[in-house]
Amino acid sequence: MGEKRPRSFYVLAAFFAAYVLFLYGPMIAIYILSFQGPDGGLTFPMNGVSLVWFSKLFAGTGIVDIGAAFKRSLKLGIVVMVLTVIISVSAGMAFRKSFRGASFLFYVAIASLIMPSIITSLGIALEFRLLDDFAIKRGVEGWTTAMGLFTSGLGAHLTWTLPFGLLIMFAIFNRFDGRLEEAARDLGATSWQTFRHVVLPIILPSVVGIGLFGFTLSWDELARSSQAIGSVNTLPLELQGLTTTVTKPDIYALGTLTSAVSFLVIFLALIVILVLQARQRRHGSDAGKGLV
């Protein structure tokens, strides 16, 4: 590293620092403002420091039932995370071999990723509405609507998280040494044993990454849920609704709380990834260590 840095390095480093400030500055501002005193407003300066706005949030006064939306989003996020991991890993394994419709599936995933969210959301809403109309016309007893958090809402979230999951799987297997699997098979392992004891432990840190994407993208999803979630709202939808009506810092408190969940999940995922990687390094290779 003894080499002297060119002048452009310092210019670009300053630019990068400014970009990071631009990214985090505003967010940090609302985290600070959520601890505003009881008489404080939506802007600086701070009018004392308190937890008033958080306690208001938990008491459920003033704002719509945030607790319920919080739980709904959490449940949906966890389900989306689990499904994204399972479906993406499974499809990722499939793409290593050839199968009918592989390139079709790939292009569909990319299309789903870049499709403007409002169109996807509209399509899913239409689909369920037509289904409802059909069922009611046919006189299915007690039918009100099939639309809901874990039907249309779940589907809408998966169209957003699965393409990310699949792309991460491609990145994983790009660096994967296929000879390890061959070795396992030569030693008599079944396909499942090969996957369970050889492939999975190696790709596990990245699979945790897929889970991280699955949860956080669902936790914060707004545009695709907007039309397709049914009668109840997720937390981001409630937040969006509040932006037009709320004039007190409770909205910042809610923002801080929501971000805290995101940061907690990110932090946990990164810790798990680091631990797994460290373990891999320890157990990884015994090459050159002589016979065990």
């Binding site: 480093a13 592989a102 390139s103 599936l105 403007p116 169209t159 932006t243 995101s262």
Partner: protein
């Protein structure tokens, strides 16, 4: 790295073992056995891909098909009527001919959306390229590269709405920026156009989506053979010349992929424009939302088809610049 592998996976079906199957009868048992193993393997692979196919079929392909079909249905105040009608389209373009030479609402809205899109695109490209360039060429240690990339990624994992609200204490009438300007005596009255304006919409869009430029461009830059750059220097090129004639052409795939992301997001956006525009700014995505709120599904679907058409045209124009299929 990533994209090269995508190509491999995308091309796989092109090299199917069709000949093997045809040759079954002509060859011995082993060949048949081999072909059966191959068939079984590809059947297992197909099974593994079924869950993902099902999700996309149910929640993406079928909905898209329905959008197209319903866009040509009739409707009244409260329900859609399954009969062929182009009312959804004609209502959308209402007054476009009668109002000439003035522009009708829909054209004005699209022009405005395109303007926002262009502004956001150029800013995200400029910032995204610079950040990616710094990360790829100036950060030398692998660990630092990961840490700094992570630093750029973390906001992507947090809520967009919160990142929009976050501008209020800064840009509002009593926000930090106005206080600063007033305090410095640069303005006599608070600047009003900082929040709930096109300025704040573009600012928020850049804030939210530059990430989508950074990642693919970084991915392209990191794959550039460093010797090419040394060769350019050795041949007497200045830093600027190397950038323009060597680095940027090689980064084109990343630039195009990032551009597609940003453009499709901004073209269909209604949340950022709604929140940061204070409900005052029209956009292509917002028309669909408004129609939906009025339960005019066929009209909403017709607008979705139009939006999709415009978006696809922009993407097609971009992919002419560079054949991304080669790069994917």
């Amino acid at each position: 790295m990533l994209s090269r592998d995508l190509a491999r996976s995308a091309q796989v079906p092109l090299q199917l073992k069709v000949p093997l199957r045809f040759d079954k009868s002509r060859f011995g048992l082993t060949e048949i056995g081999c072909s059966m193993v191959q068939d079984r393997k590809s059947f297992v692979a197909w099974l593994q891909s079924v869950p993902m196919m099902l999700v996309f079929a149910l929640f993406f392909l079928l909905p898209m098909l329905l959008v197209t079909i319903v866009s040509a249905w009739d409707y009244n105040e409260y329900e859609m009527i399954p009969a062929f009608s182009l009312r959804g389209y004609s209502d959308t373009f209402e007054g476009c001919i009668a109002d000439l030479p003035d522009l009708c609402t829909i054209l004005k809205t699209y022009l405005n959306t395109l303007k926002l899109c262009f502004l956001t695109w150029s800013l995200t490209l400029l910032i995204g390229f610079t950040v990616a360039y710094f990360l790829a060429f100036h950060v030398r240690s692998k660990t630092w590269q990961i840490v700094l990339t992570l630093l750029c990624t973390i906001p992507f994992w947090t809520s967009n709405v919160i990142r929009m609200i976050a501008w209020i204490p800064l840009l509002g009438r009593n926000g930090l920026v106005n206080k600063g300007l007033l305090g410095a005596g640069l303005v006599q009255q608070p600047v009003e156009w900082l929040l709930y304006s096109e300025f704040s919409v573009v600012l928020a869009l850049v804030h939210l989506f530059t990430f989508f430029m950074v990642v693919p461009i970084f991915n392209s830059l990191i794959r550039i053979d460093k010797r090419l750059i040394e060769a350019a220097y050795d041949a007497g090129a200045s830093g600027w010349q190397t950038l323009v004639n060597v680095v940027i052409p090689l980064a084109k795939p990343g630039i195009v992929i990032g551009s597609i992301f940003v453009i499709t997001i901004v073209m269909g956006d209604f949340v950022t424009i709604g929140v940061m525009g204070g409900g005052q700014i029209a956009s292509a995505g917002k028309i669909i939302e408004t129609r939906l709120n009025a339960l005019q599904f066929p009209a909403a679907a017709a607008n979705a088809v139009i939006l999709l058409g415009v978006t696809i045209m922009i993407i097609a124009a971009l992919t002419r610049v560079v054949d991304i299929r080669k790069e994917l």
